[in-house]
Amino acid sequence: MELLELQATWQLFNDNVIKNDFVEPTIIGNSIHQKSKSEISSIKRSMHYKFIIGTVTMLIGLGMTAAMYFAPDFNPLSNFLSHSESLGFYIIITLALGAMIAVNHRAYKQIKQLNESVSNLKQGLSNFTRSMRKAMNFNIYSDALMSPVFITWIYYTYAFKNQAIGWDVRSLVLFVLPVAIGLFSYYFQRYAQHLKFGRYVSRLEGYLQSLEENSEKV
């Protein structure tokens, strides 16, 4: 088959598509209201849930912090922590969640905008790869932030139940633990995200690069 024949075959292909693929308008009408199955939509949905859960948890944390600040007798974690320790716990959790929610919100907004805008393929690739990188970074950094906070507090609760912080191994571990868990979470998540989306995003970035580089040359 030669190139000219390809054009002729394309016409046959067009006829074939019209004859065999066309669907009723009702099917199109139903399809537009169905849930998207794309990976980017599932990322968006998971970010949306994380945002809701994170906001609710942060508000609870904020409420607890305020309640503990204004009512010194109130300590919901009295079985494990003293009043000031609990207050510290809630402040750290609230701040960590606040940071996570802010990053989540920015990435979510960008992905949402991406779904609702129409650009040329080059711009589309640029916006899409940027949004994907933001979503990947959010997953990496949120895990690297939240895991050390929770695990270190659990360790603190058990290791310092009847003992104050001093110059000993337990106290050293208390400072080394969040750094180690933070680093581990960061590298683990980076690897996991790369495994999941890395090659795909890199390929799209390659397309984008070829369009940008060659456009400049011409």
Binding site: M1, E2, L3, E5, L6, Q7, T9, W10, L12, F13, N14, N16, V17, I18, K19, N20, D21, F22, V23, P25, I28, G29, S31, I32, Q34, S36, K37, S38, E39, I40, N115, E116, S117, V118, S119, N120, L121, K122, Q123, G124, L125, F128, F197, Y200, L204, Y207, S210, L211, N214, S215, V218
Partner: protein, 168 residues
């Protein structure tokens, strides 16, 4: 009384229905199996509807549809597990789902065409689809976001690749 949204939806459905061939052609070129084709078809429709408010009638509706459909197809991502199952070639898939299979000669030509276009990357597929559908280089440049000259350069390279494949 009709609401603004229902009027919009009716308008949208009418326009999409008239040009639905665009979506089917994109799906046939970018998908290897029926399940993937159905998913991509639905995905394109959802994206068209979500972004319909951005269509202001400045460009042709079909050009706008191409932009959305090709963006969705290029950005489409399927998990590797699913992709491993996709071993059917385009023509086999086409024969399986066609209620009226094309004549043997046509089928052979479709197979050769799908195989030749199938070796191209997603971006080149978009350019060749627009070219075969009769778009001028200027229009292709606007849809892809590159200069008319570069479309020409790209098309020449694609023709060489296709020619080699078709001859073999």
């Amino acid at each position: 009384m009709k609401t603004k949204e229902s009027t919009n939806e009716a308008e949208f459905l009418e326009q999409v229905n008239q040009s639905q061939g665009i979506i089917h052609k994109v799906c046939r070129l970018y998908c290897d199996d029926e399940e993937h084709r159905k998913d991509l078809f639905q995905e394109i429709l959802i994206n068209l509807w979500k972004s319909y408010h951005t269509y202001r009638g400045e460009a042709q509706f079909s050009s706008w549809m191409y932009r959305v459909a090709l963006n969705v197809a290029i950005q489409d991502f399927r998990k590797v597990k699913k992709r491993k199952l996709l071993v059917l070639e385009a023509y086999e898939f086409s024969e399986q789902v066609d209620p009226t299979p094309p004549a043997e000669m046509e089928s052979e030509k479709f197979r050769a065409m799908h195989q030749a276009i199938g070796q191209l990357d997603k971006l080149d597929k978009a350019i060749v689809l627009l070219h075969l559908d009769g778009h001028r280089n200027e229009e292709i440049g606007q849809i892809v976001g590159i200069t008319t000259n570069y479309v020409r350069v790209k098309m020449n390279r694609i023709k060489i690749k296709l020619s080699k494949k078709l001859k073999s």
